[in-house]
């Protein structure tokens, strides 16, 4: 079984959730059946992703020929140091969100719809894994659509709790489809230029053509804009706050920690593997356009986050700002910058996923999403609030947390390049993050709990979240500390290896 998985694991990790989604959709509406099956599948997928990562570390590059057709003509799955860790990240976040989903979804989605709900969740996992693992540009589009369409459905499922989920999902649908269309137009132009859809093959042909004609330039533009929409690059992020704020809690946590990350991975792939920063137009776009938008996004989205009244919208705008950090790392165009960006991608997935889980637990117990309603949570939900605090520190970038490690890596890379203004922007936006996260913690710690949470003798009534919610939440909080203290040794290696694969020449 192990040796079979090490050869076929890459395909198995996509096929298993894809086919089980079809089964889960048909399961009878018995209390926990759909949830249990979906969670077991996610655990199996996670184990597979782990084995695949091990195999990849041993072998360097894994190429799996779908249907036995050899690339470049057949579709191949290709794993290297860049995508194997992200594969595991997506699978692990899938497991954590699904474990968390049992109490949360019970409250948010009616029984009749739970089967299709978990089926959509499994499809979303399959689509995201497929996007990351495939080596074929058109196949990327197909999986992009699989993950996005199930994502729209998942967001719309929040309608039971808040009808605004429907408009948010529609907004996401329109903008996401435009993004996917731009991406596929770009792939079409690339196909016209190179005559192949295999990404490795495209790389070789484009390098031979020394960047190619204007067709390749147009393709690059379309792909950057299309992926920019998907990963919520600053002016293209308008779908994100609504989608994150009104979808069911576990969906928010899952999408926030994986969907934009998978799109960002594709941006790495297309900017550095398929295209190459040594082509002038790529370098210009990355240095001026992407960096410019990244920095603007970091500042504006952080400020917008500060002025929100809804806690989930605050975190959503903060996500846009954090995407700015990752894009800045791309724009630096060096191994160090890319490694920082990659590290921040992983850290942010852990941190933001955890924060959304914490907010979901608060909603679950008290039905609150507004910051002003978070009063006294440190007394009524001490464990949740403690985990929230740790993760918030990590988002701000307090030392000994995950956020610190990656922000320092990014700042060092920017300084190495001589971009001191970028270091200043990282500092300033971290300070703004301190304010918007601090605002929530102030309310949670220093405001007295509302009267209905007090017992007659004046003591506070504890209403901690259920254990199934606490396990993933505390797990992610521990993880962020672990990365801050020790994990940086492992993760820095992983991110540097990834960056070296993306920039084999060592940067410009």
């Amino acid at each position: 079984m192990m040796s079979w998985l090490s050869t076929h694991g890459a395909a198995f990790a996509i096929v298993l959730p894809l086919l089980m989604a079809a089964v889960v959709a048909l399961l009878p509406s018995v209390r926990r059946l759909a949830w249990a099956v979906a969670t077991l599948v996610a655990i199996a997928v996670c184990a597979t992703a782990f084995i695949v990562l091990q195999t990849q570390i041993d072998a360097g590059v894994i190429v799996y020929e779908m249907g036995g057709w050899a690339p470049p003509h057949g579709i191949s799955l290709r794993l290297d140091a860049v995508n194997a860790p992200i594969l595991l990240l997506i699978a692990a976040m899938g497991v954590l969100s699904l474990v968390y989903a049992e109490p949360a979804t019970h409250a948010e989605v009616e029984l009749k719809k739970r089967g299709p709900f978990y089926a959509a969740m499994l499809l979303c996992i399959a689509g995201l894994m497929g996007m990351v693992v495939t080596g074929d540009a058109f196949n990327v589009f197909v999986f992009l659509e699989v993950s996005s369409i199930s994502g729209y459905t998942l967001v719309a499922m929040g309608a039971n709790r808040d009808r605004r989920a429907l408009t948010a999902a529609f907004n996401y649908l329109i903008l996401g489809s435009i993004g996917a269309t731009f991406f596929v137009i770009g792939v079409g132009f690339l196909y016209a230029e190179t005559g192949t859809l295999n990404m490795e093959d495209m790389r070789a042909i484009l390098a031979n053509l020394d960047g190619g004609s204007r067709v390749a330039q147009v393709a690059f533009g379309f792909i950057v804009v299309g992926l920019g929409l998907k990963l919520a690059m600053f002016p293209l992020h308008t779908w994100l706050p609504g989608a994150y704020a009104y979808s069911p809690t576990m969906v928010t946590a899952f999408l926030a920690s994986t969907a934009t990350k998978a799109a960002l991975y594709l941006l790495y792939r297309f900017c550095f593997t398929v295209f190459d920063p040594s082509f002038e137009y790529v370098a210009v776009v990355l240095t001026y356009v992407v960096t410019g938008l990244a920095v603007t996004g970091m500042i504006f989205a952080s400020l917008q986050a500060f002025f929100q009244t809804d806690a989930r919208r605050t975190l959503a705008f903060s996500s846009v700002a954090q995407v700015g950090y990752m894009l800045l790392g791309i724009g630096i165009l060096s191994v160090a910058g890319l490694a920082g960006s990659y590290l921040h991608l992983i850290n942010h997935a852990v941190v933001k996923g955890g924060l959304f889980l914490a907010l979901g637990a608060m909603w679950y117990q008290f039905g609150i999403t507004r910051i002003s309603d978070m009063a006294g949570l440190s007394k009524t939900m001490p464990i949740t609030t403690a985990a929230f605090t740790v993760l918030a520190f990590s988002l701000i970038g307090v030392p000994f947390t995950a956020g610190f490690v990656s922000k320092v890596a990014l700042a060092e890379a920017a300084a190495e390049k001589g971009w001191w203004w970028a270091v200043a922007v990282i500092m300033v936006t971290s300070i703004i993050a301190l304010f918007y996260m601090g605002r929530m913690m102030m309310v949670a710690y220093f405001s007295p709990p509302p009267a209905e949470c007090l017992r007659e003798d004046g003591k506070v009534l504890r209403r901690e979240a259920p254990i199934l919610m606490l396990i993933p939440l505390v797990g992610l909080a521990m993880m962020s500390i672990l990365i801050g203290l020790r994990g940086n040794v492992i993760l820095t290696d992983i991110s540097e290896n990834a960056a070296r694969v993306l920039i084999p020449g060592g940067g410009l």
């Binding site: 395909a11 779908m66 009808r163």
Partner: protein
């Protein structure tokens, strides 16, 4: 016939022609389906044509009649079943020792295996496409009235 005799069925021609055409449309769908191995056609096109025959039935005899002939519960099963047929072919290929969806290993020689493989997956595509087309049609056709203000 006196002038005040009620006209019992104003659409009699439509109904008779439709009853004649619907089986032909369905038959044509299967022609496209099984022709798909060698010529233009295949599961997707066939699925749409097959769904069209039901949609025509619904247009002429009403949505309720169509739902009785082709119940929504069946459609939900059909949507998943097609995916499972398609993916299941790949799983069988795995069990026979090949890569996922490698049809060559399905039979005693590669050519036969690929015949079997394409036949089964196209059947899966047909099932899913027909079901999804009908699901969309039913969803739009049986749309509830506008949401009232109290529902918001």
């Amino acid at each position: 016939m006196t002038p005040d005799t009620p006209i019992r069925d104003p659409h009699v021609i439509l109904r008779v022609i439709a009853k004649f055409l619907i089986p032909l449309i369905a038959l044509f769908a299967f022609y496209v389906q099984f022709h798909g191995d060698y010529g233009p056609g295949g599961g997707f096109q066939a699925g749409v044509i097959l769904a069209v025959s039901v949609i025509l039935y619904a247009l002429i005899f009403g949505l309720d009649e169509a739902k009785r002939a082709f119940p929504p519960a069946l459609i939900r099963v059909g949507m998943s079943l097609g995916v499972l047929l398609y993916g299941g072919t790949g799983v069988v290929a795995w069990m026979m020792g090949g890569e996922f969806l490698n049809y060559s290993v399905l039979a005693h020689d590669a050519i036969h295996g690929q015949h079997w493989g394409i036949l089964v997956i196209e059947l899966g595509v047909l099932t899913t496409v027909t079901s999804v087309m009908l699901a969309i049609f039913y969803a739009f056709g049986s749309r509830q009235p506008e949401i009232s203000d109290e529902d918001w």
